[in-house]
Subunit: 182 residues, 4 copies
């Protein structure tokens, strides 16, 4: 089934957003939207944006993330909403960080039930992702290294790309080529 949703999963600074934007350019004139973990975090009340204990999402000084029950429920509803956009005809590249590993994937699987989905793992060597985090300068130090491997554990993909030595543009071409073979 031709995918209606592409789910990119990878750690912070692994290059997911760059691949998503390159995919959008490559897949034109088909119009693919892109949403992701950052879309939801930006949509939160400010008071839940740095408060894992208060039910929201919290950023530890070491780059760790803690996630409260309120955030988890909103995250579930967000996935349901993105799936509904796809059922209504929009094609969507989802740019995600599976903090819960296979549990996060199950959440999206339930939401996307009946839709064609392409699961893509976006890997990057932890030390390279950490260097890119420093180069970006707008993320908590430590998130890249903390998430680089943990978000992939137990997750099953249709294909994986690795940005350690491959540009976002090339990774996007690999994903697009895979789609044309489906």
């Amino acid at each position: 089934m031709t995918p209606q949703v592409i789910i990119l999963n990878g750690g912070s600074s692994s290059g997911k957003s760059g691949i998503a934007r390159c995919l959008q350019a490559l897949l034109l004139p088909e119009a693919w939207l892109t949403f992701g973990a950052d879309t939801l975090v930006d949509a939160l009340p400010a008071g839940l944006r740095d408060s894992g204990s208060g039910g929201g999402i919290g950023f530890g000084a070491d780059g760790s993330l803690s996630v409260g029950d309120t955030f988890r429920a909103l995250d579930e509803a967000f996935a349901v909403g993105v799936a509904a956009m796809a059922r209504a005809g929009a094609r969507v590249v989802v740019d995600e960080v599976f903090l819960g590993g296979p549990a996060s994937q199950d959440r999206w699987r339930r939401a996307l039930d009946g839709l064609g989905a392409l699961w893509v793992g976006v890997r990057c060597a932890p030390e390279v992702a950490a260097g890119r985090e420093t180069a970006r300068g707008d993320r908590m130090t430590g998130m890249a290294a903390a998430q680089a491997e943990s978000v992939h554990r137990g997750v099953v993909y249709d294909l994986e790309v690795d940005t350690t030595h491959t540009e976002s543009w090339e990774c996007a071409r690999i994903v697009a080529a895979h789609m044309s073979l489906m």
Copy 2:
């Protein structure tokens, strides 16, 4: 019915986003998400972001906006998705610009069918909105004046607020007070 979705409609620089963020703060511990026209525009492929003729959304030098068929279809799917988030339990403040006036409202009405919705008009005198557009410095000059009145024509509200002489925070309190009476 207690609203699950609050729809703020107003022109560019009328103060909708500020009211949305103040509502989020006021309504805590209830966690309200906020999405809007900007969320969708940011999610578009770059190639559709300044191309009304190409089916996307185009920004005229005079502050006018042109909207193509592709954008219109995505916009419809976006509303369906936001409604699905609300049905899945998330409460949402929608921050919108009804470029199509009553047709835009009908689109949201269909999407929100069966949900409790509060329709709020956010007005601002055109010359004041234009001054705020200059003060922000990140919007096309002319959008505020072009949209200030046109987006309200034929639209029906539960209540209206006017930011010309009233702060966002006060407008948000008026909306929240109205909700507690429903």
Copy 3:
């Protein structure tokens, strides 16, 4: 002497940046640049951006700011540099927060020695500034209230504007009108 530098001093969320952008628009075709406290903070190494104790600038949970020796020295050099731009022919609107009150003003006075300077106080009632801080959603809660009055203590101005009930655009016109009379 016609001013070559306009120094706007006020607390966080008092409306300085909006007035600066409106002044830039009003004073065209004269080309005025605008720099300020945010320019310097953005130019800092990330490691000094939230570390008052490490010599940089630190943001307390209550909206207070602590400033270390390293930051103070860079701040001094920054003022000297902005003054040198003005001596080289650029006109500059400085958008500042005098955390040190009169000591901050003295620092700028020394730097601007021999240049025409217009000192403008930008006031805003603390509760209104706090509401605008919530509406912006991108600043530490509490900074607006903490700075609203303290940054003006002991500072001497050529004129003052108050954004509590006056739009940025109007405040900018008042400043521009004052300049044409000098």
Copy 4:
């Protein structure tokens, strides 16, 4: 002479800003500020930000840039100001695009007279820079390719780095290692 100013010159999306931020992290506890072409563009009146003909800076649909007389004069004053910050004790990484090639370098040379300066060329293969421009999604398409080689013609460096196959972090280490040998 130990450099007080590091000048990174390269085309759009060549990776200069990332190298600048990595240098800031590597050189701590020395506090290096970073300013660049974007600092000046952000400081311009909005009316000069897309108007090459009006004396400001203009962005062509093909990624070309046109620069007017007003912009050129402000650019000169900006360099003088940055140099004055360095003379006042701040160390500065300048992140620049020499649109005028050797003429741009001469402008900075005059401004930095008497200061220790390290001239670094930041190269990137045009097709790779173009892919990164697409991945960023926030720059005019075509600027990366248009500038990749032209900004280096006739410019003389102390050292050059190439981000085509080398991470920003590694490039920053090469620059820092060179400095420790001076």
